[in-house]
C-alpha cells in the first residue's frame, strides 16, 4: 500500500501552501493520490512497531549531521581566510560499511552536505571515493563519523 507515500506528499503540499482550509485539504489529498496512482513510486515501508525507535534514530541522525556540517563550515571558512591557503586536497576511499544502496546513498549525501568533503564516485561494495580539502587526518575522522551514521541509518531504514 502507498498510504505512507500519499501522507508524505499531502504533508508536503500542505506545508508549501500553508493553508489548512477544508478545500485546500481536499485538493492536496487529491493531488497526492493522483500522483501516487500515476507515478507508482517505490512504496514507503513503515513498520509501526519500530516507528518510535526509527524516529528517535532519525532525530539523532539529523543532530549528528548538523554538527558535522557546522564543524565543516567553520573549518572551510578558516582554510579560505588563511593567507597561506593551507589546503591539502586529495581523494580518499571510505567504506560505507553497508551493502544497502539506500544507506550508502544517504551516507554519501551527508558527507557531501558537510563542507570540506564531497563524494566523487561510489565504487563496488559501497566504497565512497571522497574528495576532501584537508587530507591530513580526514581518514579517521570521516571513517569514524561514517560508522556512527551507518548504525543510525540501519535503525532508520527498514530491513530489505
Amino acid at each position: 500500500m502507498q498510504t505512507w507515500m500519499i501522507l508524505l506528499l499531502w504533508l508536503m503540499y500542505l506545508g508549501l501552501t500553508a493553508n489548512l482550509q477544508l478545500s485546500n485539504l481536499v485538493v492536496g489529498l487529491l493531488i497526492a493520490v493522483t500522483l501516487t496512482a500515476f507515478l507508482h513510486p517505490d512504496p514507503l515501508r513503515v513498520d509501526v512497531r519500530q516507528a518510535p525507535g526509527a524516529a528517535w534514530s532519525l532525530a539523532r541522525y539529523v543532530v549528528v549531521v548538523a554538527k558535522d556540517v557546522i564543524q565543516g563550515g567553520i573549518q572551510v571558512a578558516r582554510l579560505v581566510l588563511d593567507p597561506k591557503l593551507p589546503v591539502k586536497p586529495g581523494v580518499i576511499a571510505i567504506p560505507s560499511g553497508s551493502e544497502s544502496e539506500w544507506a550508502t546513498a544517504l551516507s554519501a549525501h551527508a558527507i557531501t552536505l558537510s563542507p570540506g568533503a564531497m563524494v566523487i564516485e561510489i565504487g563496488e561494495h559501497g566504497m565512497m571515493y571522497t574528495h576532501t580539502l584537508d587530507t591530513t587526518h580526514a581518514d579517521e575522522s570521516i571513517a569514524e563519523m561514517q560508522r556512527l551514521r551507518r548504525d543510525l541509518l540501519e535503525k532508520i531504514l527498514p530491513e530489505e
Binding site: M12, L14, G15, L16, T17, A18, V69, G73, V76, A77, L79, V80, L81, L85, V87, K88, P89, G90, V91, I92, A93, A108, H109, T112, L113, P115, G116, A117, M118, V119, I120, E121, G123, E124, M127, Y129, H131, L133, T135
Partner: protein, 117 residues
C-alpha cells in the same frame, strides 16, 4: 516577541551573508574545480538556509513553507556538487594539487590525466 524574532532575523541575515561571501572568496582563491565546489557548496548549505531562516522569522512567509524549502535545498544541494565533481572527474579535469588519490589507484578510477590522454 517581535524583538526576539527581529534579532534572530538579523543574526541569520548577517551570518548567511558572511558565509555567502566566504563561499565566493573561496571560489576565487581555491585552485581547481574540485576544491572550488567545496566553497560553493557552503553557500548552498549555510548562505541560503540562513537567509531562508531569516525570511521565515521576519516576513509573512509561513514557517512550514520555509521548512519544506530548506529540506528541499539540503536534499538537492549535495546532489549538484556530486554530479559536477563526478562529471569533471570523468571528462578528465586534473587536480591542481593532490596529496593522494585513492580513486586513481582503484579499479573504478584511472587518474584524470590518463583518461584525458
Amino acid at each position: 516577541m517581535d524583538e526576539i524574532l527581529q534579532l534572530i532575523a538579523i543574526i541569520a541575515v548577517v551570518a548567511g551573508t558572511a558565509f555567502s561571501t566566504l563561499g565566493v572568496l573561496g571560489f576565487i582563491r581555491l585552485p581547481d574545480v574540485y576544491t572550488r565546489l567545496h566553497a560553493t557548496g557552503k553557500v548552498g548549505v549555510f548562505g541560503v538556509v540562513l537567509l531562508l531562516a531569516a525570511t521565515v522569522a521576519w516576513t509573512p512567509l509561513g514557517w512550514s513553507k520555509g521548512l519544506v524549502l530548506i529540506i528541499f535545498l539540503l536534499l538537492a544541494g549535495p546532489v549538484t556538487s556530486h554530479a559536477l565533481s563526478s562529471a569533471a572527474y570523468r571528462i578528465g579535469i586534473p587536480f591542481a594539487t593532490a596529496v593522494r588519490d585513492d580513486l586513481a589507484e582503484s579499479s573504478e578510477g584511472g587518474s584524470p590525466e590518463e583518461v584525458a590522454a
